[in-house]
């Protein structure tokens, strides 16, 4: 049975109808990983117990037990802790680390009956926009192996695009779900900050990080978002608000809804292929009945400096825990039995972290250091508040905002990796949603002239996700490419 381009809902119906078992579905995807992933490098490790878990799910199905994801395989970004299964953050620092507990996101997926297929590749500690910073090697874009899949959740995006998993979990600190989703032609959802527990997720920038799904369809993304959202006693920043059943209510009919076009995004220098797809998406929303209005976010031009100051400052604090004492990498001290404790830390961290992680820890250390704090970290926080207020004003005029995900289509491996500032500028359209704490998603719209995918970004006000999913549904219906796979897959 061909499952490679089926949605999660379609596979669920097949399992529920008894025409395929969880073991068969799981084996199908494990076989595809075996066959295709030596080229793509999207998985760091498959779960050696996946088939056992699928067998247990089949027993539950036979005994009449229910679960929203019962028997369905899910890939997990290797930034989320999985009990008794190696979790590396794609870093030498955590190679071989076996977590004693699972992230709340993983627990919730398993409570609904999901099978963990394996752990997906990423930029080290989720720091990167091309997946070229992984200790375990770059991930390739399945639409063209010479191109990057985006990052940091590059493995999560490439695996769904190539039909190696029906759905995966990523994390998004400044675009790390939405940008690779756009580059690989899949749906990617960054939830409202506070919807999804960060417990058990290797911390990068705690006021920005959120986990979310990458999937073939908007409705699949809505379902996974429902499962992983909700208050968690282990993360005090999660909201007690009720989680709506977005997937059950989803509708591509946008009559009576207002879609805001961000003036500054339309004036930005966009690649002609990106511009063309964005215009098609706006037309789709009009056809779906939406009224188009213009909104303005003047401070979005400051998104990159504000984001990188906040994110690196928080990272410099979060990554201070890697000290070579309690877990993770420790430099060898065989030939140098006694030295200073500072030297112990410096060598361990210097050898355990890759260059981009070091660069960001140091940028953050600088931004927080005496004499620079007011000009960098505090200033960024102040502009962040003003930007969040601009979004509040925009959402008085529009229910949902539409814009590009990136200014260009996917770029080639090696093209931007030597210039960190140029790489950071990739994130110009995605970082604002993290700074303001609002939800955002990327939905595939079409392809560049070179045949690489291009998505569009939709954003709604915090805790108003339904209208974002509805707009995504409208775009998806008109784009009509959700079952398409790259050649050869």
């Amino acid at each position: 049975m061909e499952l490679k381009n089926k949605s999660l809902f379609e596979i669920k119906d097949l399992i529920d109808g008894g025409s395929v078992s969880s073991v068969e579905v799981t084996k199908y995807f494990l076989d595809r990983i075996e066959k295709f992933d030596s080229d793509l490098n999207s998985f760091i490790q498959v779960n050696p117990k996946a088939l056992d878990e699928a067998k247990a799910a089949d027993d539950k199905i036979k005994s009449g037990q229910k679960g929203r994801l019962l028997g369905l395989p899910v890939g997990i970004k290797d930034l989320l802790c999985t009990k008794d299964l190696q979790t590396t953050a794609a870093s030498k620092m955590l190679e071989g680390f076996i977590p004693p507990y699972s992230a709340t996101v993983v627990e919730r997926l398993k409570q609904e009956g999901a099978i963990v297929l394996g752990k997906l590749n990423l930029d080290e500690f989720a720091m990167g926009s091309s997946n070229e910073n992984s200790y375990f090697g770059s991930v390739k874009n399945p639409w063209n192996l010479e191109f990057v899949p985006g990052g940091s959740s590059g493995g999560s995006a490439a695996a769904v695009a190539a039909g190696l998993a029906p759905v995966t979990i990523g994390t998004d600190t400044g675009g790390s779900i939405r940008q690779p989703a756009s580059f690989c032609g899949v749906v990617g959802v960054k939830p409202t900050y506070g919807r999804v527990s960060r417990y058990g997720i290797v911390a990068f920038a705690s006021s920005l990080d959120q986990a979310g799904p990458l999937s073939r369809t908007v409705k699949d993304g809505a379902l996974i978002s429902e499962v992983i959202s909700g208050f968690d006693q282990w993360d005090s920043t999660t909201s007690e608000r009720e989680v709506p059943q977005w997937s059950a209510s989803i509708s591509g009919d946008l009559k009576g809804k207002k879609v805001g076009i961000v003036k500054e995004y339309m004036e930005a220098k966009l690649h002609k292929d990106v511009e063309a797809q964005l215009k098609r998406a706006i037309d789709s929303l009009k056809e779906a009945g939406a009224e188009i209005v213009e909104v303005s976010l003047p401070l979005s031009r400051m998104a990159i400096p504000v984001y990188y100051m906040v994110a690196t400052s928080e990272a410099s604090s979060n990554l201070a825990r890697y000290d070579g004492v309690r877990y993770g990498y420790r430099a060898s001290f065989e030939d140098r039995p006694a030295e200073s404790v500072e030297e112990f830390y410096c060598r361990t961290r210097g050898e355990g972290f890759g260059s981009e992680v070091k660069r960001r820890i140091m940028l953050g250390t600088y931004a927080l250091s005496s004499g620079y704090y007011d000009a960098y970290y505090k200033k960024a926080g102040q502009i962040r508040r003003l930007l969040a207020e601009e979004f509040n004003e925009a959402f008085k005029k529009a229910d949902v905002l539409i814009g590009p995900v990136t200014a260009t289509p996917p770029f080639k491996l090696g093209d931007r990796i030597s210039d960190p500032l140029e790489m950071y500028l990739n994130d110009i359209f995605t970082t604002s949603a993290n700074l303001a704490g609002i939800p955002g998603m990327s939905v595939p719209m079409g392809f560049s002239e070179q045949g690489l995918p291009i998505g569009v970004q939709l954003m709604s006000a915090a805790y108003s996700e339904q209208v974002m999913f509805d707009a995504g549904q409208a775009v998806e219906e008109r784009a009509n490419i959700s079952t398409r796979l790259p050649d050869g897959y």
């Binding site: 004693p100 877990y327 070091k358």
Partner: protein, 94 residues
Amino acid sequence: MISKEQILKIAQLARLSLTEEEEAQFSPQFSAILGYFEQMSEVDTSSVEPLITPTEMEFHWREDQSQNWEMGEKVAGQAPDHSGNLFKVPPVVG
């Protein structure tokens, strides 16, 4: 401009040793990145309170209850070196 001496000072504050290549690259890279970030000074932020987190920050009070936690050895087993539930470290001076 961020000089090489400043780079080494920041690395020391962050407890990071750098490779020779990183030492050479970080100075021009930090100069370019921080130079670009200077544009933040264009925005008037007088009397604006920094936004530290977008969470709604509901405070959740709970009773402080003790619980048995029996993973001590399992957790210590993740350390580069351990003895029972204790972390072992090399001898250090200073």
